[in-house]
């Protein structure tokens, strides 16, 4: 194994944290939907792709900086998520959880291919003046868009935490997550809460997309690159746990970064899935997950 000077290892750890925060944000939506609706949303990756295209169009057509585009895209994607759950997933699933799996899978295929038809498979990216800026931290250089992504990801997690713990809607979401029938009995509109949760999950993706775009690219399959990692994070952090998703994301990011540095980028990926299997074997509820 090669030995590296401490500033390189330090930079690798910081890079891992910065990337991991975005992973966490993508996982946040996934874990929320799982925790409340108890479904694995296979369309999560495709929805991320859709959000990235939306941010791209906002930049290309309307001249909106991706960070500014967060403001219109969050309500837009909340509405989209709400509508998809209310009008597509729920009616099509006919109350069977196994159907939902297939519906979301089908949805992802439809979204990906519509994107392919509209944008072709070209790899697109935005050009923003700050893309090449760096934040200097002693000898370490950190990409400016990644630092912004890190900060905003934490902000989103904090906002989400406040919503879930302090608002009526948040309490209703948690009630439905814990006990669906009970929540319905005390007068909570479960269908509405399901759709709201799905909407929040999708809105998280809109934020993640806007944070990713300045330093990443978009093509019709780009979401899959993140969602596989997000699944691992959800399992690691505990299904349905908001802090679990964020901390899991950071952990996976650092893990990926360090193993990439020492074992090469290709083998580094194995580390992630090794964790996935180990967690499933020894702590199936994840680090922060409630007992099933």
């Amino acid at each position: 194994m090669r030995s590296y000077p401490p500033e390189i290892i330090g930079e690798a750890v910081l890079n891992g944290l910065l990337t991991g925060a975005i992973y966490g944000l993508v996982a946040l939506g996934l874990t929320l939907v799982y925790g409340v609706l108890h479904i694995i949303n296979f369309a999560h990756g495709a929805l991320l792709t859709l959000a990235m295209y939306a941010a791209f169009v906002a930049w290309k057509v309307f001249g909106l900086d991706p960070y500014v585009a967060i403001l219109p895209l969050v309500p837009l994607f909340f509405a989209l998520g709400y509508g998809v759950q209310r009008l597509v997933i729920m009616p099509a699933s006919k109350g069977e959880d196994s159907n939902i799996l297939l519906v979301t899978l089908g949805l992802s295929i439809v979204i990906e291919n519509v994107m392919l038809a509209i944008f072709r498979s070209d790899t697109l990216s935005v050009q923003v003046p700050y893309a090449m800026e760096v934040v200097e931290l002693g000898p370490m250089l950190l990409g400016f868009p990644r630092v912004v992504g890190f900060g905003v990801a934490f902000l989103v997690a904090a906002v989400l935490f406040v919503i879930l713990t302090m608002t009526d809607t948040g309490r209703a979401i948690r009630a439905v997550a814990k006990e669906r029938t009970g929540a319905a009995l005390v007068g909570i509109d479960v269908k509405h809460i399901y759709a709201v949760t799905f909407g929040i999950g999708t809105a998280c993706l809109a934020v993640a997309a806007c944070l990713l775009l300045p330093f990443f690219y978009v093509n019709p399959r780009v979401g899959n690159a993140f969602v596989l990692v997000a699944f691992t994070i959800v399992v690691l952090g505990g299904m349905g746990s908001v802090p679990g998703a964020l901390l899991g994301g950071l952990f996976i990011g650092v893990m990926e970064s360090l193993s990439g540095l020492y074992f090469g980028e290709s083998l580094g990926q194995i580390g992630i899935f090794l964790i996935f299997i180990l967690v499933l074997l020894f702590r199936p509820t994840g680090l922060f997950g409630a007992k099933a």
Binding site: T19, R120, G260, S266
Partner: protein, 404 residues
């Protein structure tokens, strides 16, 4: 059971003959059907689109300039097939094209698709002209129907290594140490192994080969390792998105080697990259397919492509040239007959000049054009210039890179 019932095929044939009969009597010669096979959906769709564009441009040009003269001015009719970015898709489309009666198939793009599709075509003695696929095995299987106008992997890489030595020597040997960055699939790993074996023989020291997956989400670590190793030269072999990510990250982290020398790189000979990331692309060298910059037709075609608001990629001139090759063979064969076209393709010589590739006089040996070669390109002043070999060059290499 079927003894007295006419088979479906006979009925179809009869119907086809009945439909075709009035056309034979007409003055217009029957159009020649040409199969164009490209992956236009799936992972390779971008390349497939640009390949199709080249074939379309060639077919339009042939049809608007009098068609195939030896066949009474017959027009070429494109039968398009989507290879769906995998070999099975390619094979299925060749079967369909065969049943539609094409005289030849052009395209395939990726080596696995070319291998499978040409094999399928060989069962019907259907001529198959490979557009891009560089795997050497494509032309070494002894298939009589398969031709490749462009260069194979062995020829490209040996040329790349020789040219690197020449460029380095001409500059006073500034480069000695190398880091190879490659994607971990068949293409990138094969290239990395080759570099590891061949570079030391040519006086270079390979400090490390760094592999990365496709798709890669982050190149920060690769950049960090490169910074720690501090090589003179970086040799990447990755697909488009990953190379863009790598070169951006290098630029951002202010890592500036004496040169970046790519071989068959998806981005470095791609105008999209040059337009969207001019700083990251600046002075990157590549060894790749590229149209002959000295031919007036090249400039004309490039204008036509850019007028459609599309980028000038090598797929377009390669497919344009491959279709022109089939048209040339049809002219010499004098009939739209598969065996005659195979025969004529094999006998193509220097009189075939309607292509726009920087090759010498065409000469086929076992289906491979012996004159085919890749050229060295470099991004200079936001344009992609040919810097080597000198007889085709339209610019001089900028190497080593000047200090900022």
């Amino acid at each position: 059971m079927t003894a007295f019932s006419p088979s479906r095929r006979t009925v179809l044939l009869g119907a086809a003959a009945a439909l075709a009969a009035p056309r034979i009597a007409g003055a217009q010669p029957a159009a020649v059907k040409l199969g164009i096979l490209q992956p236009v959906t799936g992972a390779l769709a971008q390349d497939g689109e640009y390949g199709r564009l080249g074939a379309e441009l060639a077919i339009n040009e042939i049809n608007s300039t009098g068609g195939i003269r030896a066949l009474g001015g017959a027009r070429i009719e494109m039968v398009f097939g989507d290879a769906r970015s995998n070999p099975e898709g390619g094979t299925a489309e060749v079967e369909r094209m065969n049943s539609e009666g094409v005289v030849a198939v052009v395209g395939g793009f990726a080596s696995p698709i070319c291998l499978a599709a040409s094999q399928a075509a060989s069962r019907y003695d259907l001529p198959y002209v490979v557009d891009v696929g560089v795997a050497d095995t494509i032309v070494t299987r002894g298939l009589r129907n398969t031709f490749r106008f462009g260069p194979g992997f062995g020829k490209v890489t040996s040329g790349a290594l020789d040219n690197l030595v020449k460029i380095n020597e001409a500059a006073g040997k500034p480069a000695r140490t190398v880091v190879v960055v490659h994607e971990d699939g068949l293409f990138g790993s094969g290239m990395a192994r080759l570099m590891q074996n061949e570079l030391p023989k040519r006086g270079f020291e390979v400090l490390e080969t760094i592999s990365h997956p496709t798709p890669a989400r982050d190149m920060s670590n690769v950049a960090l390792r490169i910074r720690a190793l501090n090589p003179d030269l970086i040799i990447p072999s990755s697909y488009y998105a990953e190379f863009v990510l790598l070169s951006q990250t290098l630029q951002q982290r202010r890592i500036r080697p004496k040169g970046i020398y790519c071989v068959l790189n998806g981005a470095a000979s791609n105008f999209r990259f040059v337009r969207e990331f001019p700083q990251a692309a600046n002075l990157v060298m590549d060894v790749n397919h590229w149209a002959d910059p000295r031919k007036p037709k090249t400039a004309e075609l490039r204008r036509a492509v850019e007028a459609q608001n599309r980028f000038w990629l090598y797929n377009t001139p390669l497919n344009y040239s491959a279709v022109m090759l089939v048209a040339d063979a049809l002219e010499r064969a004098g009939r739209a007959d598969r065996a005659a076209v195979i025969d004529a393709l094999g006998k193509t010589d220097g009189s075939f000049t309607r292509h726009i590739m920087p090759y010498g006089p065409t000469r086929f040996e076992n289906g491979q054009n012996q004159a085919a070669q890749a050229v060295n390109t470099q991004v200079i002043n936001n344009d992609i210039k040919v810097i080597f070999p000198e007889e085709f060059a339209d610019a001089r290499p900028v190497f080593p890179w000047p200090a900022n």
